[in-house]
Subunit: 358 residues, 4 copies
């Protein structure tokens, strides 16, 4: 339920304004060097406090409380705790009884009958800090297999990159993929923010490495099925494509990727054929909605079904796609690493080789 | 692995050109009347042989071999067998050693080291007949809860419906949602077919019913996460949206659905808020790629990595989105029914009521 | 729910007096030669119709309907169907409304509200034919790893073997482990049968092979946890031990198995230490209750809660432990094979080696 | 892997001598009052430091870090942290390279290639503190359903209770079920301890309540299957019975429990028929081995396969069955509560009633 993956499994717990956010990562092969600095650096990348993101100042210190001994993974579950330091005991009176439009307030109360009204509780995107921590360890594993993951912001409020440059995205304050378009995108974000509004965006996430070939499990746990599950289930995501987004308008003769002795001649399929990694780059487009929390007055109701106008104050990202891109990258790392482990017992020849060499 | 769902679970087995396609549906509450005619009718709807689909003539007779006694479900797993009657012992020599572009041939051989080259084997969309059979039973369960599912073809090769009419889709030979646009869509299909080519398409799938409110499980099994998993994992699907497809270009003030005492005033969210059903219609757009099997000559390689030109003869749908829409509808029924059952122990008050009334 | 295992998974469906018993075995590594004769021979061994077992004459022909192509496993789920040929349309009137003592009649009706009264329906031990078919394939896989499984009947009605001889058990009509005690055990069975009664028994199941070392997954899926789940969950089993049965009366100094440079000096632990295979033989004692179906008159009630005397006619084993031993052996094979596959991604060095050699 | 249960799920992490032991309990119905004092009291009961148990002085303070808001469960996962306060930075040199007989040292190193030699690491029984914390919350849920769980020590080193008195067990320092036999049992423990040895024991665990009727899921997740999995998987457990332990020596006419209009006339089956709760008391006998850690010199080897004599100093229970009984009780509570929730969607009539009353 609160778990992602089958062999490499991330489970999380904790609420936005509770004591902490926790993650438990199981199935990390024993003997992996755990680089605590790299782990913290990933978490910091998600935090990225600047004019385009959130002014909520979290320390976000990751504590590794289990599963690592003398610097390496032991095969036991790795416990990751991120205490919430900056939880203001603020006044929740305006949201305690009102349903914020675009949030889970209404649906969560309907489902559970009780609601943690402090910042969305369990449904808050703050939980993603545990995904990023888990993803950081997944990346350490992928590095051993020569697989890399990348991400960046492709569009903001409809303003699209013209060139894709993942190395620029790494240093951009909005993780923009295009240095030339970036100023226009930044302007759009600041304008929306100034008007008490927010903007949506599209994130591009990729993985590359020869060992992507063959990843994906049969039939209801295909590579694309799992990617669909993790990305569509991420807070704020409402759409996605794997490979060429105009796919549904194309003809087969234009869309199919021809094979040649040196490999695929194009990659419209985005690295997945028949639910299995083709060895070509995994290419995923993730569509984020505009941040639900806006300062502008909105029509809503309270828990007594009375209408009201709600203006939200607080520390909200004007564009969740920005920090969302880091989370997407982490999720892709977790998924690919899980499939890399699941793939090992697929062929009898591999099983034989494994047991012969022990 | 080959299983969909957690409480209501569909597992399938069987290959396109093997003995049969089988499905096992577990978790159907005991006492549900199983209407065998309705079950067969759903399977027939997927078959729909006409000029726009496939000339492969399968009888597709569903046999219920377990789990039903004296007309009702017993709580035991329901076994569903569909024997393959029309498996021609044809000549596979041209595909046996060639990788068909756009198919799982290359990736499946890389993964498994062996390949059932007869019509794609396990990776063929023929497996979806078991999903439709399972979905038919899910619909019988949903009917008890007042939930309905619908589907139709929105666009074909980029030609989009201007009006959405699910009742028209039911009788249209291409399940088109728009009576006026339908002829143009049909023409596009026949033109591609005549040219030995294929077209992509977009399917719209919906569910409605008050009890959609509250469906969806926490955090890695949200309603949208699961929908992402089943639709992105369906053969030929490469993209999807839940709710408004232009979401990433919008501002929060335009996208958020305001609440009023009589309900949501719009449904850009497509019926899912925070991963939980909002009670508004579930609205899902599913982007299908053009059929991979085309008659036109394509560049590819054989299993010895030698280049060749491949022309596929055979009984292929020129547009997989058409019959795919029926499968999408079945999948949505399976997902929603599963969540409806999973939802029951969510609140202590419900648990108490259940055990008090026994 | 109806599935056993995590990587190698057996799911079953079908009822005792329904159309068929079905099994689906997933996760068999691709490229395993499937010996259909050996598969059928295992199923025949479970059938073993003689004076000490059941006169129900089932053909028990196993049909492999998927997952095997040109003699080897393909990685796709292997469908195994055993049609019920000898289902008499007999008169069920005396059991239709009466609850047979010792059976699931009362509890299943309470749980499901409907009941398949024909021979116990889904709860019948007839389902175990699918476990034996699946186990036969698991054995083929284990053979590749040098692991063997054995079973035999240790005691019948309290009459215990004095010597353990698995090779004798193979040819004994009651699978007895002791040639000298066997006649007394047979006598006890026939005497009980003649008196319209039944007897309990204890089965010994073992596995041996160097690669048992290291099998077992962490903490709630340990080797002994899984063995506990499959054996305690088998029809008619009410108790079990792993290793020395007098364990609870012993002192640590007598019970602990000392280690020496040549291995363990004893095997009180029965091959499991800390939930992980020690490399020593797996030794499991399984306690079966006497067959619930007896001809003697028994007090019971009907579905209207009226008392009655019930005398059961029919084709019942006087001692279910006999044929149960074959099922235990199959279950052990399935469990060990599953753990052998799950074990592969445990160490980083193995993961590295796997991906380096691809 | 590190998770127990399907609807009510407990996952744990943390090592014996690491930072903390953590538990995450998912699926607790929203709205359950969480009594923090009762939670701590259960954990204290497991700790029970006295002459017959361990001198390791742990504070064992349980912190609830998520899933509870304003005193009630919210439906979010409940995080339970127990920090290890009394972890001496002691000298591990004598165990660091030696394999302790009866422990997981040898097998865990073989499996993982690395070993946390501090007190057994993840394989230590210290992890059970998280099971007891989770079990305490399960008990709060069971109380709502009128189900109670009990436990006590039946025998120690072969010295068996003659009477079963669960109320005495509650106050006994060794949780003994028989006040009269208790002194002899205590003497046996102290004698073994004085001799640097340990003793095994048998624990009796029971549950009672009308709503046990019908609990248990089909076929590989029966009530007895799950009980087998959790008890056989508990540290130190090597055998178990459900109901009458002499079952395998009895005849059917003596073993079967006759039904009468007022219920079962005996309970040899221990409350489980056909894998489903019969409504009679659940009766489970759990056989614990003697504590593996003893002070007496034992033959073993070191990691270089050299023989040596090992004498273990440290804070060990002379009889793990004593504190083990508390853990058994917690596990039974967790299992029964999980099945109580899983049982809700079994019948269509219940599903209908649930959705009608919403």
């Amino acid at each position: 339920m609160n778990t992602l993956g089958r062999c490499l499994r991330l489970s999380t717990f904790g609420e936005s304004h509770g004591v902490l956010i926790g993650g438990v990562l199981e199935g990390v092969p024993a003997g992996l060097k755990i680089d605590l600095d790299a782990l913290q650096a990933e978490v910091n990348r998600r935090k990225s406090t600047n004019a385009y993101t959130t002014p909520r100042k979290e320390e976000d210190v990751v504590e590794v409380v289990s599963g690592v001994f003398e610097g390496v993974s032991t095969g036991a579950p790795i416990g990751l705790l991120i205490y919430n330091r900056n939880v203001k005991s603020k006044d929740y009176s305006n949201v305690k009884e009102a349903f914020r439009p675009g949030h889970a307030d209404f649906t969560a109360l309907a489902k559970y009958g009780v609601r943690d009204y402090r910042g969305g509780g369990r449904t808050s995107a703050r939980e993603s800090v545990a995904r990023v921590a888990g993803g950081a360890i997944a990346k350490m594993l992928l590095k051993e297999l020569g697989i890399e993951v990348f991400s960046g912001v492709f569009s903001v409020g409809g303003i699209e990159a013209q060139n894709i440059d993942f190395s620029h995205a790494k240093t951009s304050p909005i993780f923009s993929l295009d240095k030339d378009i970036e100023p226009t995108q930044q302007e759009a974000i600041l304008k929306a923010k100034a008007e008490g509004d927010s903007v949506g965006g599209v994130v591009l996430v990729q993985a590359s490495g020869a060992h992507l070939l063959g990843l994906g499990e049969p039939l209801y746990d295909k590579l694309d099925a799992r990617l669909g599950g993790v990305f569509m289930g991420l807070n704020g995501v409402k759409g996605m494509f794997i490979g060429e987004p105009s796919v549904a308008s194309l003809r087969g003769s234009a869309y199919n990727d021809p094979l040649s002795p040196t490999g695929f001649q194009s990659n419209h399929a985005g690295g997945v054929l028949g639910g299995i990694g083709s060895g070509a780059d995994l290419v995923i487009w993730v569509h984020f909605k505009p941040t639900a929390s806006i300062a502008k007055a909105q029509d809503t109701i309270n828990t007594n079904n009375k209408p009201l106008k709600l203006e939200l104050k607080g520390r909200h990202d004007p564009c969740i796609a920005i920090r969302g891109s880091v989370v997407c990258e982490s999720l892709l790392a977790l998924v690919v690493a899980d499939f890399a482990l699941l793939n090992m017992p697929t062929k009898l020849s591999s099983v034989r080789a494994f047991y012969r060499q022990r």
